[in-house]
């Protein structure tokens, strides 16, 4: 098609069609630039990590009181030490799956028109954002390794040592999948911004519900059997509960494989949903605004 229009200056490379390696290099570059950007905020990191762990002290005391008050050693399959270990591990899950400001950022891009950057450049919004978020996560995990190390060392009493290599591998896989679920779920929520001007109230509901349904507040098993079963059928548990119980060795064998397979399914589902909503949204955007 372009042969009819012969370029009037030296532009041979323009017709160089992008291949997989150049696509990979593109998003790898986004990742690297994002890391450089994040590093400008490193002081913020250290302080934030310590502050986020402070409420842990009250949580430990609270659960101590609950266990003593109940007179039982085990609640819903969790010993007291396991319970505290769980609540610490949930922080690690969230380190992978939480996406602060992702949905709000997408809807702001839509509302304020900065979205056009992705439409006029050969750059995909979701590809760009996931590279950006991956960079965030890597820098955050590297920066937070020291404070987290100290906290977990101080809390070593609550853990039964380091689990087996196969559990560790499954744990790592579940964390990576929880990153994908977290990313694509919030991205899909952000796409709602194509149809609603303001998504803050929707986001508020989602965040509040997610806090509970993902098992951040307490292990899902503590709920009545019906509700526990219901929440385990939903994808939200993979953003906090599932990786933590994998680490604790509470899901093993076939159950573990099934769990990981389902987690992978949800990751693919949300990836499809976000992409679908983005495509529909762009059609809407093209007709009504810009």
């Amino acid at each position: 098609m372009t042969t009819a229009l012969k370029p009037d200056h030296d532009v041979e490379y323009e017709l160089q069609s992008p291949n997989w390696s150049s696509i990979w290099r593109k998003y790898y570059r986004v990742w690297r630039v994002s890391i450089a950007e994040r590093m400008t905020y490193r002081a913020d990191f250290l302080l934030g990590t310590f502050l986020r762990m402070l409420p842990m002290v009250t949580t430990i005391l609270l659960w101590q009181a609950i266990y003593e008050g109940s007179g039982e050693n085990i609640l819903a399959g969790f010993k007291y030490r396991e319970m505290i270990a769980y609540l610490l591990l949930v922080h690690i899950s969230r380190m992978f799956s939480s996406m602060p400001g992702l949905a709000a950022g997408i809807s702001r891009d839509i509302r304020e028109g900065t979205l056009k950057k992705y439409l006029i450049q050969p750059l995909d919004l979701l590809g760009y954002l996931i590279s950006y978020r991956a960079a965030h996560k890597v820098t955050y995990i590297v920066m937070a390794a020291l404070p987290y190390g100290i906290i977990f060392y101080l809390c070593r009493f609550y853990f039964d040592g380091i689990p087996s290599a196969s559990i560790c591998a499954a744990y790592l896989l579940s964390l990576i999948l929880s990153f994908l679920i977290g990313f694509y779920f919030e991205a899909a929520v952000g796409m709602v911004g194509f149809w609603f001007l303001d998504v803050t109230s929707i986001l508020y509901i989602v965040i509040t519900l997610n806090y509970f349904t993902s098992g951040q507040m307490l292990p899902i098993d503590l709920l009545p059997p019906f509700w526990a079963g219901f929440l385990k059928a939903l994808p939200f548990q993979y953003m906090a509960y599932f990786p933590a119980v994998v680490y604790l060795g509470k899901v093993q064998g076939n159950e573990l494989i099934w769990g990981l397979a389902l987690e992978a399914f949800w990751a693919l589902f949300f990836a499809w949903l976000a992409r679908y909503l983005y495509r529909r949204g762009l059609r809407h955007y093209g007709a009504y605004g810009g």
Partner: protein
């Protein structure tokens, strides 16, 4: 006493501000870069009623207004042209630019840009043009511009050598050698705009769409950007379509202008032609020998400013010679000149007429 010639030479010199003889030679062989064919864009806008009651009503029954942002516009732009898009706020300039860059699609009509339908957003199309919209930047705020440039290199898949050459050329053209390693947030508005322009040109686009490139800038920065655009255009024969509110930009850069008002294209032609089409008046600037001008001048035309013995008189073009000879016959005159009204005023009037013309 050199008057009429003065204005003639002025006219001639405006024709020379944008020398692009080469592109004219090329246009014969090549299809247009931009072809817009009877394009229209309607927006359906939710009409919000006033106050709380209206807001509640709006929950159940919504009323929509159709806004015709662009009405049946056609034009074509040849390779290498530098064209200005003029019009008051809300005339449809930006909407048209958005359609040409593929951000939105038209309600009716078609367009082809570089042989592509823009709103299909094919990668190959997106690699060949650039859109710069005011200060809404594509640069990373917390990082030096050079990092953003590196990112652009990957996004557009630009070979390293080509990239370095283009970057060096642009940095020299804009005089920003020491600024590319500074965090973008520390740059002034003008410097940021220059970086924005570099980012837009790095992949050597064949078409450059500029929406208000000098808005909010001081005169020095404006002139630098104009100079850069002019030189870049001359060197690379890129096609440029620019909207601006500053007539200075337009006069400095463009030979051809498209005037749009209330969504309609009301003029398409040479900048100087605007005077022929819309400027039916001339300004006679007369300095009388006496200390004060004679009181009965309003019979000849509209009296403008009076400064001591000097008067500005607006006269319809066909009557200039007659009025001048009448005045010369009755009064002693120290100096006289015939001028065109400032283009800015003329354009403002064209906008108004375009608005009330329907």
């Amino acid at each position: 006493m050199m008057s009429v010639e003065e204005c003639a030479t002025f006219r001639a010199s405006t024709d020379h501000t944008v020398p692009n003889h080469d592109s004219e030679a090329l246009t014969v062989k090549m299809p247009p870069i931009i072809e817009v064919d009877h394009i229209s864009k309607n927006y359906s806008v939710f009409r919000k009623k006033e106050g709380f009651k209206g807001a509640v009503q709006g929950l159940f029954k919504r009323e929509y207004n159709t806004v015709e942002a662009v009405k049946d516009i056609s034009f074509s732009i040849e390779s290498g042209e530098f064209v200005a898009f003029l019009g008051p706020n809300g005339a449809g300039k930006t909407t048209t630019l958005k359609m040409l860059s593929g951000l939105i699609y038209p309600s009716q009509g078609t367009a082809k840009v570089l042989g592509y339908v823009p709103w299909e957003r094919q990668d190959q199309y997106r690699r060949q043009f650039s859109l710069v919209m005011g200060q809404k930047n594509q640069l990373w705020w917390d990082l030096p511009a050079s990092d953003s440039f590196e990112l652009h290199r990957e996004i557009y898949n630009i070979p390293k050598q080509q990239f370095q050459q283009t970057l060096g050329e642009l940095i020299e053209l804009l005089g920003v050698k020491d600024l590319t390693r500074q965090a973008v947030r520390e740059l002034s508005l003008g410097e940021r705009m220059k970086m924005e322009l570099i980012a837009a040109l790095l992949h050597r686009p064949r078409l450059l769409l500029l929406d208000e490139p000098t808005i909010g800038l001081d005169v020095v920065a404006q002139v630098t950007i104009q100079k850069c655009l002019r030189e870049y255009h001359e060197r690379n024969k890129v096609t440029v379509l620019l909207t601006s509110h500053y007539m200075r930009d337009v006069e400095a850069l463009c030979r051809r202008v498209l005037v749009i008002a209330r969504g309609k294209l009301i003029y398409d032609g040479e900048l100087s032609g605007i005077r022929d089409k819309f400027g039916q008046e001339k300004i006679l600037k007369i300095e009388f020998q006496a200390d004060e001008p004679p009181p009965d001048l309003s019979q000849y035309g509209l009296v403008g400013t009076i400064e001591g013995p000097t008067v500005e008189l607006r006269v319809e073009r066909p009557k200039v010679a007659e009025v001048l000879s009448n005045i010369l016959a009755r009064h002693t005159i120290a100096d006289v000149s015939v001028q065109d009204p400032p283009l800015e005023q003329l354009i403002a009037r064209v906008f108004e007429e375009g608005g009330t013309g329907e």
